[in-house]
């Protein structure tokens, strides 16, 4: 009992005297959370503060084309600039798009009104220019907006032909607008409270917390490899300290580190990110659930770190091997790129990453506002992964002695 106490105390002393290691474990993930929560804020709010600039060249310049452009102005995600047809041509607009002065350019050809009245929408020949860097979803959103505005303009034109008394902005158009169907999109949560709307911080905190817990790979593997290289491990073995205790003495200190990370990263989401102008993290209603999934993730991370330490012969090997595998698990597991935007094949592959299990577990508690029981499958999978890593690490550790 005294020996295990001494091993734990020794590891805590080594950890607390390694300021660089502590900065890596606590400061870096906090910075990640702040940056990603603020950077991804608009990605979670369609039509947020960012508006894509669109330049419109109206070569038709009729009432119908102007009505069409007025319809486009209603699209909140875009900021329209009308350019003078006398001073601008297609090439000038293409140059502006190429130079990234503007994201999108829309050209309404001469005869737009006549073609619109002919009802041949696929032959309208509206031209949209966009740069190669424009996100596909923005391009798609713009295309949908243009199609909607075209439909409105075609209906208005048809009404005008059917009812000669129709005036733009008059009663007929009012009828059109009033009859428009609205789609109401509502996220579904347990409790159904609007406070729990998913936002960037709600996604970022669990993702980077799961990732940060694996940061222990570096200090844990280093301490074991330095012991081996300096002969301290041989000395401990000569003193009949069991090999399992040498590994086991590291578990509790690093579990404590992971739990401090949990509290700290949640605090960053709740207090720091809002101070910086981001959304506030809401914690859900299951502290036990948070503890269960965080503990399971910690066991997996410690097991993985011990395995890396036992696999590596040198510090450089451990740093590279641990760093690269952690990055791959993070990239695959939806930490850097949300799983939702991955194609089906990649989503299936993502489920192989323990970080994906950890993230899903945290989302049960933080996003879906469920209890500990909901996170149990992921917690058990993580604990299983951790145990497999521990077993392999113990076998390799004995072989390395």
């Amino acid at each position: 009992m005294r020996l295990i106490g001494a091993l734990i105390r020794k590891e805590i002393l080594l950890l607390t005297r390694d300021w660089h290691g502590l900065a890596l474990l606590f400061v870096l993930p906090a910075v990640f959370i702040c940056i990603m929560s603020l950077a991804m804020q608009d990605a979670h709010e369609l039509g947020g503060s960012r508006q894509e600039p669109v330049r419109v060249l109206d070569l038709d310049d009729t009432d119908t084309s102007r009505t069409f452009v007025a319809e486009l102005n209603a699209l909140e995600a875009f900021r329209f600039q009308h350019v003078d047809a006398a001073a601008t041509d297609r090439e000038t607009l293409a140059d502006a798009v190429q130079a990234r002065d503007v994201g999108i350019a829309l050209i309404l050809p001469e005869g737009f009104s006549a073609m619109l009245q002919g009802g041949q929408d696929d032959a309208l020949g509206l031209e949209v220019l966009h740069g190669p860097g424009l996100l596909p979803q923005v391009r798609e959103l713009f295309a949908l907006g243009v199609e909607g505005a075209l439909t409105q303009a075609m209906l208005a034109s048809a009404l005008e032909r059917l009812a000669p008394s129709w005036q733009p902005g008059g009663r007929a158009q009012q009828v059109l607008q009033d009859s428009s169907l609205t789609v109401i999109s509502t996220p579904v949560y347990r409790g159904n409270s609007s406070r729990h709307t998913p936002n960037a911080v709600q996604q970022s905190v669990p993702a980077w917390l799961v990732f940060a817990m694996y940061f222990i790979v570096s200090p844990l593997a280093s301490s074991l490899i330095i012991e081996r290289e300096q002969g301290t491990l041989a000395r401990l073995r000569q003193l009949n300290v069991p090999a399992g205790w040498v590994l086991g003495g590291r578990v509790l200190p690093y579990y404590a580190v992971n739990m401090v990370q949990l509290v700290l990263m949640l605090a960053v989401g709740v207090y720091l990110v809002p101070l910086l102008g981001g959304d506030q993290l809401t914690l859900g209603g299951s502290p036990a659930g948070l503890w269960v999934i965080a503990s399971a993730n910690s066991l997996a991370a410690i097991g993985f770190a011990l395995l890396i330490a036992s696999l590596s012969k040198t510090l450089i090997q451990a740093t590279l091997l641990g760093g690269v595998i952690t990055l791959i698990m993070g990239a695959l597991g939806g930490i850097m790129v949300p799983k939702a935007v991955m194609p089906p094949g990649m989503q299936a592959a993502a489920n192989l990453s323990p970080m994906s299990w950890g993230l899903e577990g945290f989302w049960h508690i933080l996003l879906r506002l469920e209890g500990a029981a909901a996170a149990l499958p992921e917690a058990l999978a993580l604990a299983g992964f951790g145990m497999v890593c521990w077993t392999l690490a113990a076998i390799l550790h004995r072989r390395n002695l």
Binding site: L3, A6, K10, L13, L14, G231, A234, R235, R237, L401
Partner: protein
């Protein structure tokens, strides 16, 4: 239990360390690291193992402590067989490895406290034990200093202090003075002598001849995993004078045979010939003709007994080691 030898018992029976036909191959190597090696070390002795780098000294210590697996042979320490009871064998030793083996970011006191717990020293005795080993190692005023910030000499002394914790009956010191300043080296050698005087058995490896001559009761000269000679230093050095002829280049075996046969001599290796004679002048005169006939010129000629360095080179040769 380790007990002093009875005068009428053969050496093997009362050896505190008895190593028989030990063999160790490292995977992939083309020669054994330990080759049919046998040693007998008596209680209370300072036993020196002298060998060049790569001779197998550290491997021998690690195999003896059960830190490396052996391929063949037997190790019995204090009556316990390594094969049957490795933990009891290890418990008899205090290990002082070649490189400082402790935690640089812990203080001297914290290191001693940790290794005391690892040595299973009772908590109530720990403070007294820390004072004892610090007094032996001269570390009393450095207890609160971080180990990694100590000078090289002090780090060696901390390495020694950790090995002394728990008063192990056998100290295993693996080249403890390599890279140490003269003052610290002197201090360590004095400490070893003092410990030996108190009855501690010391197994001391080194490639420094003067340390061996100063410290050791018995010496084993080791090369390429084999013990070439072992015994009391005085016995090893107390040989009849010989005429030693050293050549600058390698001489064929047949030529060496032709040169040594008339003088009851022997080739120690391809560059060194030893001839038994009580009349070196007459011997040289007769040898001169033979050397001329084989068109060989000696690089050096000497006559007399040997010091440890001469004995070492005579047994191991002067060729550089890999």
């Amino acid at each position: 239990m380790i007990s002093p030898p009875a005068a009428d018992r053969p050496v093997q029976e009362y050896s505190v360390i008895d190593i028989r036909a030990l063999r160790k191959w490292y995977p992939g190597s083309d020669a054994p690291a330990l080759d049919d090696l046998s040693l007998h070390i008596e209680p209370g002795q300072v036993f020196g193992i002298l060998g060049a780098n790569g001779a197998g000294k550290s491997t021998l210590l690690q195999v003896m402590l059960g830190l490396l697996a052996k391929d063949n042979g037997e190790v019995i320490v204090g009556g316990h067989s390594l094969d049957d009871d490795a933990s009891k064998v290890r418990a008899l030793f205090g290990l002082i490895p070649q490189a400082p083996a402790f935690y640089p970011t812990l203080t001297v006191a914290e290191n001693l406290e940790f290794f005391s717990a690892a040595r299973a020293i009772h908590r109530g005795l720990q403070a007294r034990e820390t004072r004892r080993v610090c007094a032996i190692s001269g570390l009393e005023q450095w207890l609160k200093h971080r180990a990694g910030r100590l000078s090289g000499g002090l780090q060696r002394r901390l390495n020694l202090a950790i090995g002394l914790l728990g008063k192990p009956p056998i100290l295993c010191m693996d080249e403890p003075t390599v890279g140490v300043d003269p003052q610290s080296r002197q201090f360590i050698l004095d400490s070893v002598s003092a410990l030996a005087n108190q009855g501690t058995t010391v197994l001391y490896t080194s490639h420094y001849m003067e340390e061996m001559q100063r410290l050791c009761d018995r010496v084993a000269i080791m090369d390429r995993g084999r013990i070439l000679a072992q015994g009391r230093l005085s016995d090893l050095l107390n040989r009849a004078p010989v005429l030693r002829i050293e050549f600058s280049g390698e001489v064929p075996d047949a030529t060496l045979d032709a040169l040594s046969r008339p003088f009851n001599g022997r080739a120690i290796h391809s560059r060194l010939l030893e001839l038994q004679t009580s009349d070196p002048a007459d011997c040289m005169e007769r040898l001169g003709g033979l050397l001329q006939a084989h068109n060989i010129t000696p690089a050096s000629v000497s006559y007399g007994g040997e010091d440890l360095q001469q004995l070492f080179f005579r047994l191991t040769g002067r060729a550089l080691r890999d």
